[in-house]
Subunit: 366 residues, 2 copies
């Protein structure tokens, strides 16, 4: 068994579930902190565990370029290399090739790109994406997909989506390890009909789980939710559903309501390093002068290490002084907020109180 | 009682002691990690405590400029502000005015300087140095002294040293809190006779402890030890002796042998961030390519968190990728090395085995 739906909300798609991996089960809905270069920036695996992270994400593109997947494999795999012994999901590298490499060219064979680290040329193919992820030993691997910009014309969406399907097939064929799960990525741009047909095609090919990709690329929020709402119900209850790169706390709540099980996003960690802290009543910008002599914690309702031990005044000082501890204490707070939010949603689902949870969540922010 | 000499080595000045402060006792000889801006860079107070730090140092110059001593006082003092509840020693700000400010002018009244943070002009007087340190609530305060470059001519040394004496008197007079210890700083350049007469003068004025200052300013190692060897024996056993800004592990061993009780230095923390790691057999530079696939710990004899959990290969990767965790894991290792070295010296002194300790220390490094 790969995924078990434990409980479904009466009035919505929201559900409680469990994803089974070779590094143990993951309770869903789940948020995966992003550990781009074999490290969730500024925090240790022990801290992640204490924060309640049940699975983290690694970036294939970065690890392929530095230190290299063969090196990590020789070191015993990504888990051992970075000292994290719960599940890891890796992306395919595709999205970061599109967004980070200095130049890239999509061909039938794969994506030709120039490394942002040393300028060298590489070809990322579906086969290489699987080879890298198998070498890393990812519990969940992702198929290489194409990234469709927003807006895009219909023909471009059709062509890209079809290429994604052919690449998904090649990923299935390239896979040599059955103990590592493989998820396909639904594309289809912002066209309902193309999303639906792509979902159907991929379902027919038999993957372990399905991601809804090509979202959070600049489209209005309504379109994001509409795209999820159209493909999500097509996926049978026995498969995990993952929305990539989403998002803000309210996006997670809405997506869970639409039946999404898995999330990843750099927002909590990146924004922490920029001094933006999430709280139960909205967010605060810690460098704001009004916090200079504020003895209170970031969020009086939060029981994270940062809120239990440090004042807003101290956190503001660390941020202004560019102290390394600033990034870490802020990251701990934001990850705690996100992971605790997911835990609260799981509890609400278990207790058949998701509606009440959602009402309370929004009422605090007003 | 301020300081108790618990045990003295038979054949040397080396001794075991205890410094009493309002935040509890400190076992000596002791190394004080440097927490410049109310943070020992990259680590939490909890980590410092677990590493065995018994006292840390704060920098008056930095805290005065940002966030300001009055702000820290309003927040309940430096201990509460930074969440560190063991003793803190603060420097006088003098040394950093000399080394960091964009321009400075020494006058009888004090030092006029331009802030490196915002370019504003300030006058640091002996009275202000005490006012700042009392506002911070430092367990041990330092007198404002002058900094004599190396080399310097005899008249310059005499003039500077005499000014340091007059400033020390003004510090004593400015002090309003008897619960905060106040140490004077011996100057005298690299002239034995001037060092001796200055030590005598300061001893006559009645401080709680004595620092040997103006050392580690570029002089040959022999001169450093010679200057310590000439003033140190003049200081009665009931006073703690502190050598400022020293140094490498072997310097600490030699200085302990000469009877020094207290040390501070940025070397373990700064060098950690530059990838230089101390080990029982010398130091290593972690970015060296030969560590790329090295599965062993930094130091097989070390039991710090970093060595227990991460390989040299991973630490090299983090360093090359400029990951924030690199600075932290390296800092933890280096501080552990320094603090453990001091603990080993204290144990050796307690067991009358300091000679043997020193022999073993050097034999491992060959």
């Amino acid at each position: 068994m790969i995924f078990r739906q434990l409980k479904k909300a009466d009035s919505a798609m929201a559900r409680l579930g469990r994803l089974y991996t070779r590094h143990g089960p993951v309770e869903t809905p789940v948020f995966m902190p992003v550990g781009t270069q074999a490290s969730v920036k500024s925090v240790t695996p022990g801290e992640l565990y204490e924060l309640g992270a049940g699975i983290i994400l690694g970036n294939t593109y970065h690890l392929y370029l530095r230190p290299g997947h063969r090196l990590i494999e020789a070191m015993g795999g990504l888990h051992k290399f970075m000292n994290w012994h719960l599940p890891i999901l890796t992306d395919s590298g595709g999205f970061q090739v599109y967004s980070l490499s200095q130049s890239r060219k999509i061909q039938e064979e794969g994506v030709l790109f120039r490394s942002h680290v040393d300028g060298s040329m590489h070809m990322l193919t579906p086969e290489l994406a699987i080879e890298i992820q198998e070498a890393l030993g990812a519990d969940v691997m992702m198929c290489l997909d194409t990234c469709i910009p927003f807006p895009a014309d219909r023909q471009q969406i059709i062509d890209s989506t079809n290429l994604t399907t052919r690449w998904a097939r090649r990923c299935l064929d390239a896979r040599t390890r059955g103990d590592l799960l493989l998820f396909a990525i639904v594309q289809g741009g912002m066209e309902r009909e193309l999303r639906c047909s792509h979902t159907e095609q991929l379902l027919g090919m038999g993957f372990d789980g399905y991601a809804l990709g090509g979202l959070s690329v600049g489209e209005p929020k309504e379109l994001l939710f509409e795209m999820i709402a159209c493909s999500r119900p097509m996926i049978p209850p026995g498969f995990p559903v993952y929305v990539m790169g989403v998002g803000l706390p309210e996006d997670l709540v809405e997506c869970v309501d639409l039946g999404v099980d898995m999330f990843d996003c750099v927002i909590p960690t990146r924004n922490a390093r920029n001094g933006m802290l999430f709280t139960s009543f909205g967010h605060i910008v810690i460098k704001n002068a009004r916090f200079a002599q504020d003895q209170g914690p970031v969020d009086p309702e939060c029981s994270c290490y940062t809120c239990r031990n440090y004042s807003r005044a101290y956190l503001r000082h660390l941020f202004m002084a560019k102290e390394l501890l600033s990034y870490r204490l802020n990251t701990i707070h934001n990850l705690y907020y996100y992971l605790n939010l997911m835990a609260e949603m799981r509890t609400a689902l278990a207790m058949d109180r998701f509606r009440e949870f959602k009402r309370d969540f929004y009422s605090k922010r007003q």
